[in-house]
Amino acid sequence: MSAGPWLRRILLVLLAALFAYSLSDVGLLETDRLQRGVQNTGRFLRGLFPPAWDVLPDVARAAGETVQIAFIGTALGLVLALPLSVAASPAITGRGVALTIRLLLAAVRTVPALLWAIIFVVAVGLGPAAGSLGVAMYSLGYMGKLFSEAFDGVDPEVLEAVRGTGLGRAQLARYALLPEAANQLLSQLLFMFEYNVRSSSIMGFVGAGGIGYYLLGYVQTLRYQELTTALLVTLVVVLAIDRLSAVVRAAFLSGRV
């Protein structure tokens, strides 16, 4: 498997050349532009302080909406992803069906969350409903993939032994596939929720609800002190959610719940 020393050297040189070429192509080698960038960044950073606390109530309400979007989106995504990923398991439905559903999930996954949100803004109008549906579709694509990988990892011996009792497919899924993969599913569900809280905070960029509306608005109107408040609130929410999900994860995986 290991490449010869020459091949490895050639690959390294190619990689370095590609890096240098791309660096100049994206404009990171233009010194005057970099100089301007440093100055602008300095002015921007100084403008961020002190935070403007008068917008806190609005921003906090929007942050709450962000968490709601993530929560609803993750829950809807779960409701869709669970049956679909079971159906995407060859042990339950056979290769043909499983492959078809996997392709479908891959297609859902190629659309980024923000684009789903735009699609739903067009469909159901501005607001958190569009954001929730966007997050749901994105979660479906990803949880569908993560869940089917968890199902693929289930010990085939357990599936054979349980199938050997003569039970049906739905029963096999309910009493072998799901419980054997349960810890992994939970872990991935929590990961998805954490991820969705982050991605929901930019749903507002396209009018799909949450704190993103304020983040974008403050940037565009150069209200950097208000922006600081919004960023701090986002940070607190993200950290709190990470902490919460760590607690839930520990409680479940230690078998206490």
């Binding site: 199938r163 050997g164 049906g168 309910r174």
Partner: protein, 261 residues
Amino acid sequence: MSVHLEPATESLPPAPHAEPAVLARGVWFGYHPRRPVLRGVDVTARAGEVTVLLGASGSGKTTLLKLIKGLLATGQGEITVLGRSSRAGGRPSALDARVAYIPQQLGLVRNLSVLDNVLVGAMPRIGTARSLLHWFPRDEIVAAHAVLQSLGIGNKAAERVLSLSGGERQRVAIARALLQRARVIVADEFLSQLDPVTTDEIMTVMHQIAAQGVALVMTTHELDVVTRHADRVVVLRDGLKALDCPAAEVTSDSLARAIRQ
């Protein structure tokens, strides 16, 4: 300790002169077309008997058990299990609930309770909707508890399998097979993870189960299991049967020779 089987099982007394429960004739099988694992094996296993399958690692013991269970389809030859025949070229026969399969690692669902694992054996008798809702018929729950009780782990019903010892897990796998009302139990490396005392306890239980008209086919690496607990012994070597005789006629030495040679 005495093991009581399901009523439906007890109503079928052992019939010593009937057809063997498992009858394999001229069975060929290979995972790759050019490398046969079994090359024309004949095996019979009778109700009421403990048939032990021996052979060096890789000699095809697990493969033969999977063929009997119907998880694999024969390349050539015929396997008749409880009167149901599967011939070469056919698909693996639909899995027969009357044949219980206990794989090497037991195939229990670790995250489920002992009771749920045992009730899996009753699943084909319970409607899909009810079982998905975890709403099991009263009599099946009573039967599951009774079987666990008779196997000496009645107090473990609510525990998750992952918290049990090796011997306890073994009993859960047996209980599942019993709730399945199995007439044939095929068990792979059945005693491999047990200490000698637990081995004797489990085999005592298995003899009681066999005595009620069940054919037990098991593989093992422990030669003294044959001399102590088997009724019949079959040795596989190089895809062929090297020995097939009543266990009373062999010694550990003659077995070791038959396996290696």
